[in-house]
Subunit: 581 residues, 2 copies
């Protein structure tokens, strides 16, 4: 790898430097940007297809508009590598030693050209409607734009935003970046509607956008720089809402990405020559493979199971399952509200829905967890991935799943300490037809087998207790091994509390009688979590309770070891805390 000393990009320190370039110079710039995206992604991993596809639109945007006065909101902001390179941050791609200088999403701490920390889909239009209205009230005249992919358009908030954008009284441009992909293949009636528009070069009368009142424009080749410049010039300073539909090619410029777009939406470090990951994938059981094994076994035994996910099959290795059991698989698009309400409807009709949700994205479905599932006490099964402290960006933290699930009536939230326990919990959850049951999939490495007897019935939560002295440690889920280490050091009692929200009060009463201190450990924020429920229950007893988890803050790409230290989640720190009591 080299530092590309000859690159034209080295001369671009802000969008202002673009203004005097010729089309052919900007086309050269596009090639450079593509090369740099590929080189850095090959080394570090990251989003690939979305960034390769948006290069020309990004250059054209900054050529035509005057950021940061004119403002663009990038939906999800996973496609902002080219934008970052053009707004003073190219060094983070040009020089491998500076690869870590920028975060993977838009970031106002990083640049005045970024307005929000964004990482969830479908929010851009809504944010832009608020920005446009504030501009109107303050008497401003800058251009406000939201750029959103066709995949993100399947999320309901995108439609809510469109519905309001359509009646904005002044300038507001919604760019629909139609690359015909979500993370996996895009789904639903919207796919049909966009195809009719593309196939008619934007002329189809069946146009949902003109129906809503938008001034609709279409660009057949959204990767043609001249066409994009012309399109942006035509919408600049226009005093009404416009929907600009651009047809782009996800993964453009990298042949393997064009052949398998899902696998190249986001990549781990890979070899540019072979397209193969540079870190080997281990073929051993994981929290994901165990869940799919159980589903397959139960389907083969005749259970009417539907594996439901919201556009993230790759997160759960669901691709092969989808191929093998097409009738038992549903991808609802990036639409978690739909996924959970769909599951409620499926359960009501007697089927067995198994939701596969990512903790951070599940936040969009909180009302459905309550109103549709819990208030109707429907036997929905839900596997939750990514629940726990992590070094992710602050928009992608999975620390609120216990807040959402644990505090709702009727839900039973189980937290396995081993893969064997996860298997038993899922088997039980599928067979019981009494309550909604969620299972917090371990995010830390947990043993395949359990050190203790595995329960087969979770209708009554009974703590599993390894007796020790003075101190009892309730170590929830994948923090069990931290509990083991702590118990060993202290000679303490070790408890597997099994559930994040159902307390075994009988066991707690006994533990309170025989110990001086009860410690809780959980892979979640403390507020609204497991430990506070234990502290509250034991409030009237003569026992001290120490709750360990994450403080109520957003970490932001903070190394996990540092998060643990900052929250006293090490054996040494907890031991010191006990001494200080």
């Amino acid at each position: 790898m080299n530092n590309h000393n000859d690159y034209l990009l080295r001369k671009i320190s802000s969008p202002q430097d673009l203004k005097n370039l010729s089309i052919s110079e900007m086309e050269q710039l596009a090639e450079e940007i593509r090369t740099l995206v590929l080189e850095k992604d090959a080394a570090e991993g990251g989003h690939l297809g979305p960034d390769l596809g948006i290069v020309e639109a990004t250059i054209a945007y900054h050529y035509v508009f005057n950021a940061p006065t004119d403002k663009i909101v990038w939906d999800v902001s996973h496609q902002t590598y080219p934008h970052k390179m053009l707004t003073g941050r190219a060094q983070a791609w040009l020089d491998p030693e500076h690869y870590k200088d920028v975060t993977p999403y838009s970031n106002p701490d990083e640049s005045p050209y970024d307005y929000y920390s964004i990482g969830h889909t479908s929010t851009s239009i809504a944010l832009a409607t608020g920005m446009a209205k504030a501009r109107d009230l303050m008497g401003g005249h800058e251009n406000i734009m939201a750029l959103i992919g066709d995949g993100s358009m399947t999320g309901g908030l995108a439609f809510e935003g469109l519905n309001n954008a359509a009646i904005e009284k002044h300038n507001l441009v919604i760019v629909v970046n139609d690359n015909q992909w979500s993370i996996d293949q895009n789904v639903g009636g919207l796919v049909t509607a966009l195809a009719k528009l593309r196939n008619s070069n934007g002329q189809a009368k069946e146009n949902p956008f003109t129906a809503m009142g938008f001034d609709y424009r279409y660009v057949q080749n959204g990767n043609d720089l001249s066409d994009m410049i012309a399109a942006f010039k035509a919408v600049k300073d226009v005093d009404h809402p416009i929907l600009l539909h651009i047809n782009t090619t996800k993964g453009k410029g990298y042949e393997p990405a064009l052949k398998d777009e899902e696998a190249h939406h986001w990549v781990v470090p890979f070899d540019l020559a072979t397209d193969q990951p540079t870190t080997p994938v281990l073929d051993k059981p994981t929290a994901k493979t165990i869940a799919l094994d159980v589903l397959k076994e139960e389907i083969q035994m005749g259970q009417k199971i539907m594996a439901i996910n919201a556009a993230i099959p790759g997160v759960f290795n669901l691709d092969q399952f989808k191929h093998d059991y097409p009738d038992n698989y549903t991808d609802v698009g990036i639409a978690e509200q739909e996924s959970v309400a769909f599951a409620a409807g499926f359960a009501k009709e007697g089927g067995i829905p198994v939701l596969f949700e990512n903790s951070t994205f599940l936040q969009r479905a909180f009302d459905q967890l309550s109103h549709d599932v819990a208030a109707n006490n429907l036997p929905v099964v839900m596997m939750v991935a990514g629940g726990g402290l992590s070094s992710e960006s602050k928009t992608h933290l999975g620390i609120f799943d216990q807040v959402m699930i644990s505090n709702l009536p009727n839900w039973i939230y189980l937290a396995p300490t081993s893969l064997a326990e996860e298997r038993a919990m899922l088997q039980w959850a599928i067979k019981q037809r009494q309550h909604p049951v969620a299972i917090k999939m371990p995010t830390l490495s947990v043993p395949t087998d359990s050190a203790t007897q595995i329960e087969t019935d979770y209708d009554q939560i009974q703590y599993q207790i390894q007796p020790g002295k003075n101190i009892a440690i309730l170590a929830l889920g994948d923090f069990y091994s931290l509990g083991e280490n702590l118990a060993q050091k202290l000679g303490a009692t070790l408890v597997n509390p099994i559930s994040a929200n159902i307390l075994d009060k009988q066991s707690l009463d006994k533990l309170a009688q025989n110990h001086q201190v009860i410690i809780t450990l959980e892979n979640n924020i403390l507020d609204g979590g497991f430990g506070q429920k234990v502290a509250s229950y034991l409030g009237k007893q003569n026992i001290k309770v120490l709750n360990y988890g994450q403080k109520r803050i957003y970490t932001d790409q903070t190394p996990l070891a540092q998060i643990y230290r900052d929250n006293h989640l090490t054996v040494e720190q907890i031991t010191d805390d006990l001494k200080a009591l």
Copy 2:
């Protein structure tokens, strides 16, 4: 009022009894149903306009289809009075002594013709997509239908449902009941799209539904029984997804409702002769008037404020405000996700957004509270109504606002104990530009003035303490008067903790030193709430903590006094609990 012994409705004990009626008999039935809706609503209050508008469609549905084998999901289910009358529950309208026999929403505990407890909008299509898919997997052939109003269609989940319904492989009928109203006037581009279809008798090519692939049908007069019967017969057993758009008249048959549809969406008891409420509206300051007073004062002082709500201006008395300050008012439709993201965008541009949200509906915006507002630490101000224990239906409980807001980083959740304190908190919230601030509007009656000094700065939470002995009572928000009564009886220390989520740790440490027991009182569920945070913080100290609030269950039209008793929320019960310690 009489029992209408001559009514044809008395002979309808199930939809089966409709099958042999003539059109003119069913038209007579429609008149009877309208009369009964009006009589009961006049006596008891309830939803009016939606039920008057849907009478013919309901009769036609049950005439054509075979419920409960064929299934219909009523969106929100506030329009199910006619449905209930036709499915064995007419007595609850015919006989005033039986008025309380049925609940105001669909209710599976009440009838096999109701499939879900539903009370929030925009869920029906999503539920139906899951039901259709379960039917497919089990090999069934029944008709599945969702009926949804044009107002509910502005909620994103409705679009997510449509997107998936459009690709259902077998029967699925979506009825869009277009009465040209939300609760207030409907808003957005969807209004434009539906108007084009109505104005062209369903023939407009700019059709968002055919664009998505639906087989689209239109009924110009959805209050014509014969037309509705023909339309339903034409879609019955059809093996693909259909969108049936029907044009109905909200409030049909009651002149005052036609003249002012918003005021007659939901009514308090009224006089049928004069249309005036039978219980006088008191003209004194309330939590709502105080909030609007502050907004007006601040706007007059030049603050760039936007009052934002999601289709519920009536809940906040915002109608007059909307008239007086049109530039400072936005109704985004039934779209809480949009409302919160809009507020984030508005704040980012330097405006001052003040959200008016109902606790139960705010559940739809949990992700925006976190991802868009809190993770960006934007100074959004939010007034939360309806937060507290109530005798509402289980779908409408406002007991999770603290769960949602209090456990997110950066949010400051304030809980005033008097109207004067609410005023001070809102004034501060508008002027500070550091954090998102939410204010829990009292739902119980609170004093206009405060017994203690009112703070003017809430950047640091400092508990207000009335010293007493042995026991300290932290009485949050509108439970302060319960705290006063308890403190008086016990001679205890009384504390106004001011915030539902920011603890004054210094004061707590002192209170723990000088007291044997700390009691927390909050108008919320206990799990994930204020008291558990206090119990956790004090876990390492030698003090007992008793948390009072609601247990983690859904109450369902349970009288408030009973809810208090069930949760030991009376002075007597708490006194007994203390004796038992």
